[in-house]
Symmetry: C2
Subunit: 237 residues, 2 copies
DNA sequence: GCAATCTTGATTGTCGACAATGCGACAAAA
DNA sequence: TTTTGTCGCATTGTCGACAATCAAGATTGC
């Protein structure tokens, strides 16, 4: 499974670590609905630990913005309104753009070859046309993970994968309609890889930013819940 | 004091919160030297709390990368080698570039006026030429804080101010030679503000990125400790 | 003299109990 | 009927004690 995050066996895992993974997974996958109020005791009982470790878990997930806490009141699972999600996509645009730029100069030839192999896999799955949305969902993240890692910037990778992407993954379970333009997205992926192979950092950054910007606009028009004080008549006409 | 982060009085503060602020400040200001090994009991005694709240504090500072922890072994204060610091500046370049872009369209006229006032203050202090480095040090951060807030992107501001800037501030205490080009930096600040006033997001982003990129190159040549396996002769010639 | 093993000390991980705080229900008064 | 004050319960915040683990020094055998 790719969800294990490929941790080294040598790292000893504590009760809190296991509970962290379990709770995080339940939140990301929506097993615990967004906005749900959770109590320390309940969570502790649910994951078979005491309140001590569970408090640690809560603090860590709080700093990852997966939980929201009010002192002396309680904790609830984070809820992503479309506005907040759009904010996150601006973050992705900036950070992954930089990642693509750095990847163009820092990636080894073997890594680039791996990217091409991944791309080929996705294009083949695309031909099969079965469960496209799901494969594309995970495959898309795989692609982005690789580019991020390819930047060889540990701080950048940590911020993206260790903090931002949990929320992105959660949003994909919350708002189901994600991979609506898989063919176009795949083309854009290929363009990005080609720019990286050409060692053209500027181009790679620009393409990645456009790629993510389009994804953002896609979700923005998708869930258009509260047209605040704007008159829609003009557009409709 | 500006260090209080201007929190609302209504937010109740717990023991752990106070200990967090105190320890964080001691780490950022270098009162506890980078790399120092710290034990939970010692810290708990030092800040007058029990080990429970102190463990929470440690977990939170760990996620802010101010502490590094190994399970069953212990915790030590983060040490910033120049390479890691450069990584952080690439993050700043990406994120604050985006912040400047968004600020150009999102900032209100009053906020822009405030930016100009701040700029005027700094230029006046610059004229006095007394303790330039220190003023510039804090003033520089004030400027960047304002642009970040001006983006009106809560997630972006939170990531920059709530996570990245503690490390940046710490680096300024660790590597003393920071504000080596205050006049040039001030000119660049003014350019950025003018781009924001002109509502030119693209230009504001470009200028901010160049501004931070120059700061990065500045620290890179400053502390040049380990030229790994690169031959410097060609560049020197 | 050197290496492998054991023991010891300290530190972290975990747990249950107690104190402090906030929220909601209920009742009483306007 | 509405509002306000009070009470009680549930949840969080805090603490001290016990168990598990690791690092280092002492010991023993070769």
């Amino acid at each position: 499974m790719s969800e294990a995050e490929a941790k080294l066996e040598t790292a000893p895992r504590t009760l809190a670590d296991r509970a962290l993974d379990a709770l995080q997974d339940d939140i990301v996958r929506g097993v615990i609905a967004p906005g749900t109020r959770v109590s320390e005791s309940d969570l502790a009982a649910r994951y078979g630990v005491s309140r001590g470790p569970m408090r640690e878990v809560i603090r860590r997930l709080e700093s990852r913005k997966l939980l929201e806490r009010k002192v002396h009141v309680g904790t609830r699972v984070a809820a992503l309104d479309p506005a907040r999600l759009a904010e996150l996509y601006y973050l992705r645009e900036a950070l992954e753009g930089m990642a693509a730029r750095m990847a163009a100069t820092a990636m080894g030839d073997d890594e680039i070859a791996g990217l091409y192999r991944l791309l080929a896999e996705h294009e083949q799955q695309q031909d099969l046309k079965e469960d496209v949305a799901y494969f594309q969902r995970e495959g898309d993240l795989d692609f982005h993970y690789r580019v991020i890692q390819g930047s060889h910037n540990a701080a950048l990778a940590d911020m993206l994968i260790g903090e931002l992407y949990y929320l992105i993954r959660m949003s994909r379970y919350q708002f189901s309609g994600v991979a609506k333009r898989p063919l176009q997205a795949l083309k854009e992926h290929r363009q990005i890889v080609e720019a990286i192979e050409a060692r053209d950092g500027e181009l790679a950054e620009m393409l990645m930013r456009r790629h993510i910007s389009r994804a953002r606009r896609n979700i923005e028009v998708d869930n258009r819940p509260a047209p605040q004080n704007r008159n829609l008549k003009e557009e409709r006409t």
